[in-house]
C-alpha cells in the first residue's frame, strides 16, 4: 500500500452528457434536471451554485451514484459509470447533514473509510493527524459526535470525506452549519488544500460568496438547467443572462428597464420613465450589433460601479437619497431616480441625509444590457 498523506491519488475528469432526472410525485412528473452537459476537468474545483430546487444536489447525487439517472450519461475519467453502484465509483462524499456513526468516536468516524480499506495503522494515523489539524478537530478526536456542536459534526463529516483516496470529492453544502467566522476559516483551508493537492472537487452551495471564493469554475443552475459555466470573474462581470446577473453579487445588481436609441457610433439608453439617460458605447460590457430605435432593453449595473460625484458629466444622473447605511468598512446607499431605485456601494461614515439630492456617476465600462424577452445578455 502506498504511504501517503492527503495528496492526490487518481486522475479524474467528470463528464455529464444530457443528464436528466425526472421524479414522480402523486403521479405527476417533476423534471428536476432537464438535460445537463458539463465537464469538470481533472484537478478542478467546480462549484454547483443555484437557489434551492435548481437541481444542483440532484445532479451531484447522480454523479455519486445515489440517484438513478433518468437519461443521459456520466463519465468518470472517460469511463461510463451510469450502471456502477455508489461504492464502485471511487467518489468520496460529504453532506450537509452529517451521517456520522453515533457510537464511534470522532477519530473512529474519520478513520472509518480507511479502516474499511484495510490500510496500515501508520498510514491511517498520519492522514488522520493531517486532516484533523486542517479542520481544527484535534481537541475533539476522542469525543462521540453526539457531544459535538452542529458545526463540529459537520467538520467531522468533511474530514471523513477528505481523508479518503478517491477520484473525485463531492461535497453538498459542507459548511452550512458553521458560524461565519468558522466558515471563513474552513473555506480558506479547503481552498489551500485544493491548491496543494489539485484533487477534483465538486461542491454544491447556494451561497454565491462561497462559490466565488472557492471555485475554479462555477456552474450556475436554475430550474434544472445549466445557466452558465465559467470562472468566478466571468460569472461576476460577464453574466450570460439576467438570472446569473441577479443571483450573483451582494448587494445585487441594479436593473433599469428602458430603451435604446442610436447616437453617434453607439447608443443612448433611456429609462422607461425618462429619468435616466446614459450613453452606451463600444467600451461597455455589452453592445448590440444592431438595434432599432426605441428597442426595449434592461440595463444592469453593479452597486460598486456607481459612485457619488461632485460635478455632473455625461455618465452621471441626479438622484435622491432614500437610505444610507454605514457598515463599518463600507456604506450602502439606496437612492431614487424617478421611478427607479439604485443601490450603491460607497464609503462608510459619509454624512448623508434622507431626501438629500446627489449626483452619481455610473461607470460606462461596466454597463450590461439584457434582452427583456429572452433575458439573455446582448
Amino acid at each position: 500500500m502506498r504511504e501517503r498523506g492527503l495528496e492526490k491519488a487518481d486522475m479524474a475528469e467528470i463528464r455529464l452528457e444530457q443528464v436528466r432526472k425526472d421524479y414522480y410525485s402523486r403521479k405527476k412528473k417533476i423534471e428536476a434536471v432537464k438535460g445537463i452537459d458539463l465537464c469538470c476537468r481533472d484537478g478542478e474545483f467546480m462549484v454547483f451554485l443555484g437557489p434551492s430546487g435548481c437541481g444542483k444536489t440532484t445532479t451531484m447525487r447522480m454523479i455519486a451514484g445515489l440517484e438513478p439517472i433518468t437519461a443521459g450519461s456520466i463519465f468518470v475519467d472517460g469511463k461510463k459509470v451510469n450502471d456502477l453502484a455508489a461504492g464502485e465509483r471511487n467518489v468520496a462524499l460529504a453532506f450537509e447533514n452529517y451521517a456520522l456513526y453515533p457510537p464511534l468516536t470522532t477519530r473512529e468516524n474519520i478513520a472509518f473509510p480507511l479502516k474499511a480499506k484495510k490500510l496500515s495503522r501508520k498510514v491511517i494515523e498520519s492522514r488522520l493527524k493531517e486532516v484533523a489539524s486542517l479542520l481544527g478537530l484535534e481537541e475533539v478526536l476522542d469525543r462521540n459526535p453526539g457531544r459535538l456542536g452542529g458545526g463540529q459534526q459537520q467538520m467531522v463529516s468533511l474530514a471523513r470525506c477528505l481523508i479518503r483516496d478517491a477520484a473525485v470529492y463531492l461535497m453538498d453544502e459542507p459548511l452550512s452549519h458553521l458560524d461565519s467566522d468558522q466558515r471563513f476559516q474552513v473555506r480558506m483551508r479547503l481552498k489551500t488544500l485544493h491548491q496543494k493537492t489539485r484533487r477534483t472537487i465538486i461542491y454544491v452551495t447556494h451561497d454565491q460568496q462561497e462559490a466565488l471564493a472557492l471555485a475554479d469554475r462555477i456552474a450556475v443552475m436554475n430550474d434544472g438547467r445549466l445557466q452558465q459555466l465559467d470562472t468566478p470573474e466571468n460569472i461576476y462581470s460577464r453574466p450570460r443572462n439576467f438570472f446569473v446577473a441577479d443571483f450573483i453579487g451582494e448587494p445585487p445588481m441594479n436593473f433599469i428597464a428602458g430603451s435604446l436609441f442610436h447616437e453617434g457610433n453607439g447608443f443612448r439608453f433611456q429609462s422607461e420613465d425618462k429619468s435616466l439617460s446614459l450613453p452606451v458605447r463600444a467600451h461597455s460590457l455589452s453592445l448590440p450589433q444592431e438595434a432599432t430605435d426605441g428597442e426595449s432593453v434592461i440595463l444592469g449595473v453593479r452597486p460598486e460601479d456607481i459612485s457619488p460625484v461632485l460635478s455632473s458629466s455625461e455618465h452621471s444622473v441626479e438622484v435622491v437619497v432614500e437610505v444610507y447605511e454605514s457598515l463599518g468598512e463600507e456604506g450602502i446607499l439606496e437612492v431614487r431616480c424617478g421611478r427607479n431605485v439604485l443601490v450603491i456601494l460607497s464609503k462608510p461614515r459619509l454624512s448623508l441625509r434622507n431626501g438629500q439630492r446627489l449626483t452619481v456617476s455610473i461607470n460606462p465600462h461596466k454597463l450590461v444590457l439584457f434582452n427583456p424577452q429572452t433575458e439573455e445578455r446582448l
Binding site: A213, E325, I332
Partner: protein, 367 residues
C-alpha cells in the same frame, strides 16, 4: 414612546446567570440594538423587558412603570418575533385591526378604522388593505406586521431577530426597508440581533453583550472605530480584524510596533505614547482591519514583504491570506485580481487606523 431603564438586572436559570448586573438606559424614541453572539443573554434581557420572564435581581422600568413579570398588558410593549405571524385568512386590514378588537380595549369600529388607516398611510400600505398576506411581498408583510403592532400605540417596540429567518439577499434588503421605516415608528425600539451589519445599520446606540455581561454601549461609529476591547473589535467586521502580537520599540525617540520576530514594524501614533509609557507596556496587540491593508506590487519604503498563499474572489472585492514570519494576516482589496498560485507580495498598513490592545485585551487610548 417611553424610556426604558435596567438597573442592576440579573437573571438566573437555576444557579447559572444568563444576565449579570446589567445596567442600560434606553432613551425615548431611540433605536437601541442589543448585540452579541449566541449565549450572550440578549433574548433573556428582551423577555424580561417584555415581562415574559421574571427578573432575578434588579429593576426594569418603562417610563415610570416598573415591569412585573406576566403583566405585559400593564406596560404596553409590542413584541415582534422572527416570523411575521400574520393570519393568512384575514385581509391586511383585518390583521391590523385584530389587536384593537380585544374586548379590553373597548374601541368602536370608527376608531379602529381610523387608527388602521393612519398607520397604514405612514407605512405606505394603504393600497393593500383589502389584500391577503399571500398576495404581499416580504417587505409588505414586514410592514403589515409592524403596522399591526403600531396600531396599539405601544410605548416600546421589542424586536427579537426579526430578519434572521430570511435568506441573505432578502435580509439585507429588509434591513434597509426597516431602516427607512424606523423614523416613522416614533417610539422606542429595542432590537436584538447577532448580525453586526444589522446593528451598525439600524442602531442609534448598540449594547454589546457577552455571556450576560455588558461589554460596551455606544453609537455604531464608536463601537466600530473605538471598541472597548479585543472582544468587541472582533465581533464587528467580516473577515475579522487581524490581531497581531508584538512589542513596543523605542527608536530615536519614536515608538514603533514590531512583531516579536521583527517581520512587521510600523510607527505608533504619537498620541498613544503617553499612555504606553505611563503603563509601561511592552507587549501589546495590534488590531489591523483587513481593509486597512493595501496590497502593492512593488517595493517601497513602507512596504512589508509577505507570502500570500491564497486569494479569493468575492465579486466586488478580493481577499488575500498572507503570512509574514510567524504572523498570519487577512487583507481585502477592491482590485488587484486573483493570484493563480502563492506569490510574494508587498503590503502597506494604514497605521493611523490600527487599534492597540494591552495584555488584558483592553484598547489603549490616547492621553
Amino acid at each position: 414612546m417611553a424610556s426604558v431603564s435596567l438597573i442592576n438586572v440579573t437573571k438566573k436559570y437555576g444557579r447559572i446567570p444568563a444576565v449579570s448586573q446589567l445596567n442600560l438606559e434606553v432613551k425615548a424614541t431611540e433605536f437601541f440594538v442589543i448585540f452579541g453572539p449566541a449565549g450572550a443573554g440578549k433574548t433573556s434581557t428582551l423577555k424580561m423587558i417584555a415581562g415574559l420572564e421574571e427578573v432575578t435581581e434588579g429593576e426594569i422600568s418603562i417610563g415610570d412603570t416598573r415591569v412585573r413579570a406576566r403583566a405585559s398588558d400593564e406596560i404596553d410593549v409590542a413584541m415582534i418575533f422572527e416570523t411575521y405571524a400574520l393570519y393568512p385568512h384575514f385581509t391586511v386590514f383585518e390583521n391590523m385591526a385584530f389587536p384593537l378588537k380585544s374586548k379590553y380595549r373597548k374601541l368602536d369600529s370608527a376608531e379602529i378604522r381610523s387608527r388602521v388607516e393612519d398607520v397604514s398611510r405612514s407605512l405606505e400600505i394603504e393600497g393593500f388593505l383589502q389584500r391577503y398576506p399571500a398576495e404581499l411581498s416580504g417587505g409588505q408583510k414586514q410592514r403589515v406586521s409592524l403596522g399591526r403592532a403600531l396600531v396599539r400605540k405601544p410605548r416600546v417596540f421589542l424586536m427579537d431577530e426579526p430578519l434572521s429567518h430570511l435568506d441573505a439577499k432578502l435580509r439585507h434588503q429588509m434591513r434597509r426597508e426597516l431602516k427607512k421605516l424606523r423614523n416613522k415608528l416614533q417610539t422606542s425600539v429595542i432590537f436584538v440581533t447577532h448580525d453586526y451589519m444589522e446593528a451598525l445599520s439600524l442602531a442609534d446606540r448598540i449594547a454589546v453583550l457577552d455571556k450576560g455581561r455588558l461589554r460596551q454601549v455606544g453609537t455604531p461609529d464608536e463601537i466600530y472605530l473605538a471598541p472597548e476591547d479585543v472582544f468587541v473589535a472582533s465581533l464587528f467586521g467580516q473577515p475579522r480584524i487581524n490581531l497581531v502580537e508584538g512589542l513596543v520599540l523605542n527608536q530615536n525617540d519614536r515608538l514603533f510596533f514590531s512583531t516579536t520576530d521583527g517581520a512587521i514594524v510600523f510607527p505608533i501614533p504619537a498620541g498613544l505614547r503617553e499612555c504606553l509609557e505611563r503603563s509601561n507596556l511592552e507587549k501589546i496587540t495590534a488590531g489591523i482591519r483587513p481593509t486597512s491593508i493595501q496590497i502593492i506590487r512593488e517595493q517601497s519604503p513602507a512596504a512589508v514583504r509577505v507570502w500570500s498563499f491564497l486569494s479569493e474572489d468575492t465579486g466586488s472585492k478580493h481577499l488575500y491570506y498572507m503570512r509574514i514570519g510567524e504572523t498570519s494576516l487577512t487583507g481585502i482589496t477592491e482590485s488587484g485580481g486573483i493570484m493563480e498560485k502563492p506569490e510574494k507580495l508587498f503590503i502597506s498598513v494604514e497605521t493611523e487606523k490600527v487599534l492597540y490592545f494591552d495584555h488584558a485585551g483592553k484598547r489603549i487610548r490616547e492621553g
